[in-house]
Amino acid sequence: MGIVGESGCGKTTFARCIAGLEEANDGVIELEGQKLPYAIGKRSPALLKKIQMVFQNPDASLNPQHPAGESVGRPLVLLQKVPKAELHQKVRELFKAVNLPEDYMYRLPQELSGGEKQRVAIARAFAADPTLMICDEPISSLDVSVQASLMNLLVKLQESKGTSYLFISHDLAAVRHLSDWIAVVYLGRIWEVGSAEDVFVPPYHPYTEALLSAIPIPDPDVHQERIRLKGSVPSAVNIPPGCRFHTRCPRKIGEICEQQEPPWQDVGNDHRICCHIPVEELKALQKAGSIQPGR
């Protein structure tokens, strides 16, 4: 599952609520049919083990005074109850799984590059053998070549371990590459959800459309419609009435957008859009504007 949206739209808060790092006010979080308490303190170690997180900034998420191997080993000891004798062997296996040389176990985070640190963070998350991995912008601070190798690593680990990912990013191409399902978020709410193939072909929500037209595509032959959003995301303290997107929507149809909350519309194939404009109309409007592949 991928989550995309601009900064300040609540992607990270959402992830932190699921991980229990922030307490939700209302609603239900269920993991494998089991209701989760909001606060991390009320979750049992068995539950904690199931949800692991990789953060955006590995400098802040790895203890600078612990060697990489120790950071990876901690969830093994605390959550997996691995005996001391086997610990070294297990850590070594994890390092191998994330394509790091074994002697990196003894290095401090400051002796590793950004991509290597992120690999250590991924190894640590997998150490607990989670069923759900939350990746909060794990690759956005890295170089393109390192990004590609990390994405390949995530795909490989998912295939071998069968873990579910919640992948949060503002990079639509990366989300498209990794996700089976995508949710588009704006101002704390989901506006479009569907399988990755469906979300990125028309009809889409006007916000998705704007996001897609804004991505810079490294191919001079690709023709992109120029849809630009005006202004910035309104503050979450002062949410606009009606459709939350109406203040910036390029396809606003009138007063209905300002007054009524838009309905969920089913496009089929579990692809849903939350907008006042009927699906057929969106389809007709957006046909010309879709991205035409260059190669």
Binding site: V144, A148, S149, A173, E197, P216, P220, L229, P293
Partner: protein
């Protein structure tokens, strides 16, 4: 609709007199405890008026160092160790610091990556633009203020009079970047250097800023050196591009030439790393460039990209390639560029080292299947296999 492509072509091929910035064999050296470190080596480039030159490469490839050498603003231990920097024909590397001060801000301006760090938080943003106008254009206080408001309006700032009085913390990242662009264009400079100006911004804001830069360029006819690691941004706004690796230029040419022909394996590697919006993990696996960028004091003997190159051959290990002109205006520093040119899709190039076919650009069978299915559909026949596309699913 008039032909935009034809227009840019005319601009990008001017006579030599029109080049605003000319670098000839520029080298930059940092003096460190372990000895001199040649961070930029023998880089030559020319940028014409009204042209955006994109400089791309991984972090640590010397892009920013090059930009700082151009403006002679290197750290204390850095120096230009060879080559010439010419601005409109005059040699900048021979000027004294006081003469450089007349050029900074008036003829060369810069937009940095982090707008919040580049703006003084304790002075209203408009006042900072007015200060530039007073210092370099010698305007009176009243006129400088009017000029600042005019510049804020030029960068499509809503309500420029109000923004004039605001402080940096009262503006969003995108607005701050617009303020910086307004500041940089106040003196109508000949050269504008933009160092990752949109990296810190959201995609939607980035798109707006990129459109703005393009629009302003038509009005100001400035030469722009645009540094970024985002190849998509380069494809969108630049006229020409230089690909830098470990302090040297690997490939240079017009956007279409470089992105289509990709005559250097490093360019191919960078382009193949980027996930595409119309493909997912089921369709392609991303190819990444193995290994790391070498330190300037530990360069390999032959081609500097050889240890990470999937096309490397025996001669690459011993012979250092130089930039050769593959087509008019298209330079590449690869010994095997002719083979790369002939096999544009790289399927048939054998790597001398592994003996395996190159992994770049491979079309996996799911793609082929999809193409086949579409052909069948077009002819009204039912496809020979169903929608279960993925071989790994075992369906």
């Amino acid at each position: 609709m008039f032909n935009l492509n034809g227009l840019t072509k005319e601009i990008t091929a001017p006579s030599s007199a029109e080049f605003i910035l000319e670098l000839q064999n520029l080298s930059v050296t940092y003096d460190t405890e372990k000895g001199p470190l040649d961070t930029v080596r023998n880089v030559s480039m020319k940028i014409a008026a009204g042209e955006i030159y994109g400089l791309v490469g991984e972090s640590g490839s010397g892009k920013t160092t090059l930009a700082r050498a151009v403006v002679r603003y290197l750290p204390a231990n850095g120096r230009i160790s060879g080559g010439v920097v010419r601005l409109c024909g005059s040699d900048l590397s021979k000027l004294s610091p006081s003469e450089m001060r007349k050029i900074w801000g008036a003829r060369i301006t810069m937009v940095h990556q982090d707008p919040a760090a580049a703006i003084n938080p304790s002075i209203p943003v408009g006042e900072q633009i007015a200060e530039i106008a007073r210092a370099h254009l010698h305007l009176s206080r009243v006129k400088a203020r009017a000029k600042a408001v005019e510049m804020l309006a030029k960068v499509r700032m809503p309500d420029p009079e109000a923004v004039f009085k605001r402080y940096a913390h009262q503006l969003s990242g995108g607005m701050l970047q617009r303020v910086l662009i307004a500041t940089a264009l106040t003196t109508n400079p000949q050269l504008l250097i933009m160092d990752e100006p949109t990296t810190a911004l959201d995609v939607t804001t980035e798109a707006v800023i990129l459109d703005l830069i393009r629009e302003l360029l038509n009005e100001y006819n400035t030469a722009i050196l645009y540094i970024t690691h985002n190849l998509g941004v380069v494809a969108r706004i630049c006229d020409r591009v230089g690909v830098m690796y470990s302090g040297e230029l690997m490939e240079e040419g017009e956007i279409k030439q470089v992105f289509k022909k990709r005559l250097h394996p490093y360019t191919r590697g960078l382009l193949d790393c980027v996930p595409r919006i119309n493909a997912s993990k089921k369709d392609i696996s991303l190819s990444s460039i193995p290994g790391y960028i070498p330190r300037p004091d530990q360069l390999p003997q032959g081609c500097i990209f050889e240890p990470r190159c999937i096309f490397s051959a025996e001669e690459c290990r011993t012979k250092r390639p130089t930039l050769v002109e593959a087509a008019s205006g298209h330079l590449t520093a690869c010994l095997r560029w002719k083979e790369l040119d002939q096999n544009r899709n790289a399927l048939t190039i054998l790597s001398a080292r592994t003996g395996k076919k190159s992994i770049s650009n491979r079309a996996p069978w799911c793609w082929r299947q999809r193409i086949l299915r579409n052909i069948f559909r077009r002819h009204g026949a039912s496809p020979p296999y169903g929608n279960a596309a993925h071989p790994k699913s075992g369906l």
